[in-house]
Subunit: 148 residues, 2 copies
């Protein structure tokens, strides 16, 4: 692929991404949980996780993750506990309430988005379906730099 074509695609994708951000915002509008909180909760949905792992997976720094976790803890959605093998580590776990609220939030967002997807043509939906793995590879290619 020629450089020019790559640059043009990059420009168009950036523009598209900019719009998608507003889409996300509107999805969150009257939400119980913010995007950042959903993101953090999703991280511990499959079992207790370290603060540093949550930070890395969320693409934020450790202190920012701590901040989020403290907020979620205050809302009784997660608990912080020790790791049996390493006393420095803090393991964050989802509470039953957290699991419930998270499921509700994910569900609500997915339903809103699904309703919009339904208004698209079948061809558009297919194009999106086909592109998602590629988009994920693209994101991953950039690495997850915000951590050192």
């Amino acid at each position: 692929m020629k450089d020019d074509a790559l640059l043009e695609l990059a420009g168009r994708y950036r523009e598209s991404l900019r719009h998608a951000v507003y889409l996300i915002r509107s999805l969150d509008a009257e939400g119980e949980l913010s995007t950042a909180q959903v993101s953090t909760l999703n991280m511990v949905a499959e079992g207790p996780a370290r603060v540093s792992d949550i930070a890395r997976n969320s693409g934020i720094r450790v202190p920012s993750a701590t901040e989020q976790i403290i907020r979620l803890e205050a809302a009784r959605l997660v608990t912080r506990g020790p790791d049996a093998h390493d006393a420095r580590v803090v393991l964050v776990s989802l509470t039953p309430k957290g699991r419930e609220v998270l499921a509700g939030a994910n569900n609500r967002r997915n339903k809103m988005l699904a309703a919009q997807l339904a208004t698209l043509s079948a061809a558009d939906r297919e194009a999106i379906t086909a592109a998602i793995p590629a988009l994920n590879r693209l994101s991953i290619a950039l690495g997850r730099p915000p951590y050192r």
Copy 2:
């Protein structure tokens, strides 16, 4: 398309978008301009624009747009002036310096992204290219349309 399939697609796209947001963040890392600023500047690139138009096109409220514009004005990247036909209106224009800085910022980001796109397979790039119009329609379909 069945509801289940739509919900599943919605979930996968939301996840993908979450990663894409980190991608954008990393693109902005050591930038001269933030994403929000680039976004605002792009809005006036094709000629003077009203504060309210900038806000609407950026998917933010008018006071937030004012705030951005004031910052950009302080950096000598835009100027604010009156509208000849309506004294309530403030027209925001790009300065020569603003045009230059904007071009540089867009260029830098596009180059970074293009370099990553180059690492993907041709099939992946095609899938992304094909999906962009669909993704734009999806974004626009939702609540706070970028264009209007």
